[in-house]
Symmetry: D2
Subunit: 348 residues, 4 copies
């Protein structure tokens, strides 16, 4: 079940209709999931800002790096031009090259792109080697292309799927999660949608409740360095608010606040990245850009939707058996025990 079905409703703002990133009109999400034998548990997830020619109609965009132990591709061109011109693909750490290949080939193949000579592929990743034999590098560009071509307008599949197939968060099974907020008309009437690939550690809090401590599973529990909280999170934010790339960067910074509220430890080994884009050129091209003074409700919406998307990634994930590369042995990662979470949060 999703967090909200258990009464977990972070923040004060209303959600969008589906309570996921596809509440932002035009945004599409696709997954490819690869499960093979006892040791392959991986995949890819594609987010498409709109269904037109993305290269010819790029979207205003920005990136914020919470902690940069990661391989996000495309980062400097987004910063320079303030735009994204391709799908955004999430996958595992050692498949970034393959996802770039998929994006480049797909882009060159789109009608109207016959003379395109330069493609800034945007690929994020987290490391699923706790459940996936990542060194085998079995994901191919063709598989990843399926995530792009199968993308649809929702609802988003969550949990151990796509790029979240083999990820781990707070010691439990993580994965893909999503959530949204829809601002009232007097605050602009816009929608913020967030999708996460959760794969990090810390001391889990659920809407403030100390779930990690109560369940005895958290970073530094035994005050030994071996108790790693490393890992990463990729956060993608979509909005139809007419934001400049500068204000999209500011927006993306706020996702880190949502992350912080779940108890993330933001360790050295974590790659915490936020990619934000706006679809307004497709949905309302004549809109005047949102002024600085009107950004605050969008910031609050981002914090709330990010927090809830992370809970959804945990709540929707089921127990997975896989292979741990560091120990070279089988490993089971349990789903978060929702009955106990319910008890601890006092949700009803």
């Amino acid at each position: 079940v999703r967090a909200r079905e258990l009464g977990i409703a972070p923040g004060v703002l209303p959600t969008g209709e589906k309570n996921d990133i596809t509440d932002v009109a035009g945004v599409r999400v696709g997954h490819v999931t690869l499960i093979e034998g006892n040791d392959i548990r991986t995949g890819a997830t594609a987010i498409l800002p709109h269904d037109g020619n993305l290269y010819q109609s790029p979207v205003p965009a920005a990136v914020f790096v919470g902690n940069g132990y990661g391989k996000l591709a495309g980062i400097s061109q987004i910063a320079e031009l303030g735009e994204i011109e391709t799908p955004i693909v999430l996958t595992n750490t050692l498949s970034v090259d393959r996802a770039m290949s998929a994006i480049i080939d797909w882009t060159l193949d789109q009608p109207g792109n016959e003379r395109v000579r330069s493609v800034n592929a945007v690929v994020g990743e987290t490391n699923d080697s706790g459940l996936n034999n990542i060194r085998k590098r079995v994901l191919t560009p063709d598989m990843i292309r399926e995530a792009i071509t199968s993308a649809s307008t929702g609802p988003v599949q969550e949990g151990a799927v796509g790029a979240g197939t083999g990820t781990i968060a707070f010691g439990w099974k993580g994965g893909i999660g999503s959530s949204s907020r829809h601002l009232p008309e007097n605050l602009g009437g816009h929608t913020i949608g967030v999708l996460v690939q959760s794969n990090f550690g810390g001391i889990l809090q659920v809407d403030g409740a100390p779930v990690g401590e109560r369940l005895g599973q958290y970073y530094l529990k035994d005050e030994v360095a071996s108790d790693k909280a490393d890992g990463s999170i990729m956060i993608v934010i979509a909005t139809d608010a007419p934001l400049s790339s500068r204000n999209l960067e500011r927006l993306s910074k706020r996702a880190i606040a949502g992350l912080a509220r779940t108890g993330a430890s933001m360790t050295n080994g974590s790659g915490d990245y936020v990619v934000a884009f706006s679809t307004y050129r497709q949905t309302d091209p004549a809109a005047a850009q949102t002024e600085n003074d009107n950004m605050s409700p969008l910031f609050q919406a981002t914090i709330e939707a990010t927090e809830e998307a992370i809970y959804n990634s945990l709540f929707m994930a089921e127990t997975v058996d896989g292979f741990d590369v560091s120990t070279q042995s089988p490993r089971r990662v349990e789903a978060l025990p929702l009955d106990k979470v319910k008890e601890i949060t006092g949700a009803n």
Copy 2:
């Protein structure tokens, strides 16, 4: 009372002896508080990294800007050289020039600085115009110099004092707060101390408990834009860990996670700044710099100490009557009702 006396103990790591920034050996803090008539409620707070000649023995340092609607002086030279060469002074928004004057004059006057021709004064601020007639600009460089010259090794005075005399947080009286964490020997044995000047808004959570929502006082409560959560926070981090300026910058980013956990909305109008420095050249000059791989416990300590320092700034502040510049009328800002907080958090 301080948060911990009410049983509020964020995180999992032990505090330092005094549980404030002066637990980092050599660090000194001084306040000057200015209360005049019905409308002046302001002051300044100085943090001195060590008691030697700061200009001749600068400390490794870094700054992180959470949201840059603020006037932090000294920022680009700290980034370029990775050092701070003066006291750090916090004050109100329209007194940054005066605090710079105080720092420049004090530095030129120190024995050994007779040929000094350049001083990079570091001054942070938040806007206390909700209780202080800030436009009168009554703080003088001489007054602010008192904060520097009176600085001592603690314990730190908290609440409505110094630069926190007129500040407001989450709609209640904010101010100066401090906290520390001392890492066990197997995690390095170092100390992290944090001092904050709290003056921001959002939806207050106390160690996860929804205090703001329960007390009916929070950002966007009535979903109207007039309900401003603007404001700012200055966060100063001291440590004796032998950190490079790059790792101090990473450390300073983590303070924002502590801020986020208190429910900050990080609005457009907020100036959220973190200044971090290390005293290791004074206490252990031959120490090898901490490696990236050993940073995570220091990050966790920073998150925890920042969160607790913010609670202390609220818990230690008393109700203040002053003058609201925006309405040009008297205003009372209540202290956080600790009995109710205790009830809501279930602390005992």
Copy 3:
């Protein structure tokens, strides 16, 4: 004489009418020059983006830091909000506080600003202690205010005047210089104006000619560390092109290329800052923002105008006798010998 009168005409684009920053409509420049006794040679220069209420009508703006050994005030708020809300004042290193005081007080005093509670003063500086007894701190806020209130639409006074009264560049007398470029209509028809305060070292090239080497005066000439090239440059760029703050930041980066072409060594001790703003909201508020693809001619214009402004700062400066703080003795800094420059450059 100005560089162009000697046939020095860097680049390929035409200048504006006056060939200075006031070719950008509405931009005003004012100086205050302070010469006292044998040891005070300093001043301040104010640049006002337009003659309306700057606080109520801020201009899109950006800052780029070439080398950050400097004290530029206002930097983080410009980055966050993409705007400047005050005059820009240049002065000496130890008078930044005084210039902030002048800007704050002047802003609070403007009609319409009666409720203003926050002012982000923008102050740049270079260190004139080679000719000026900077430690005396004799410039007052009232004097600096004169630079603001006396600002006019040009032509700009250049050389040893205002903030350039005591500066030194490449071992000769530097100071204030300005230049502009006006793009042909098919490249947008916009104007770029640049003003510099030159106070740095290196190996002077004039439009490519090795003036520094030929005259035997340059950085590392004797390959000894004592031959310091330290110093700084403040560069202010104005344009009427309708640029976003992101593209203004990109524009400001190009000024460093103009600086490089003069032979600057960009040493450790240099504070090389660029502040760029656009006046389009005043002159053409309905203009669509310039697209990335149309930025290149503006970049070229910026490089050329910066290079020429630096030459003007040298060519227009006369020999000055003052006081060197580092040696505590009188010092004469010669004007650049223009006859020899003419010979070396082979101009006309």
Copy 4:
């Protein structure tokens, strides 16, 4: 011939023995060049910081982005950790994915890396589609791996080779170029080596002489937007000076000054990137890090070596016949006419 053989010797500092990047002890360079039929003119160039296990012994490193219209892979992890853990590979814009594949596979295969689960491949590119049918994507990871495995300690092959096979600079044939500077003992005695992949436009100056204008071939010559100066440059800096990542970042900024002196227009479409690393942990692991105050000669050396490396990339390149993707037709790009350059520069 190389620039210096024609008497072109930018700057005032002496070169290293070979006057290329391999003057920095341990640094190795390898090329793979791919010429097929009438339309394939491309390749890859690998720079290896040392001959040990790069993943287990990463080098301090930094990146500076001059203009970010490019796809440099690896950027955020270098910024976060201050290190490079792989070879640096340069190639064409649409082969970054393939170069990443090569680096990842090669790294996983190195002895001692059997448990490695994360690889931050560093790949730079410029767009050779003016001479190379880039859309065919014929370079394979296996070919690129040859550049890595064949790398040697010099001298570096320059001109139309490796990643420079199909590049164009200032309208003439560009390519790979390299140069170095060796500081005298009293300035530290360290070596700076630079390697460039030149593929950009502007108005060529050679050691100050207006070669582009005299030969009538330059950006904005006809003041029409169609006269594109787009393109890019990748600059790699190696040094044995014991620099922190912060000072390596400062060093990398100075390369842009060298670039500027050649007349680069730094247009919108340019991807101008600098990657800098230090080998001191291999050559002098106990060395104390260079202090800020001693950086200036290294900065000057970087400016000079970058300028000369660019000249070498042009001077060593021969005329190439290839295929222009934008016009879909054959294209010849001439080598720079060195006899005329000699005449214009007055070199003898």
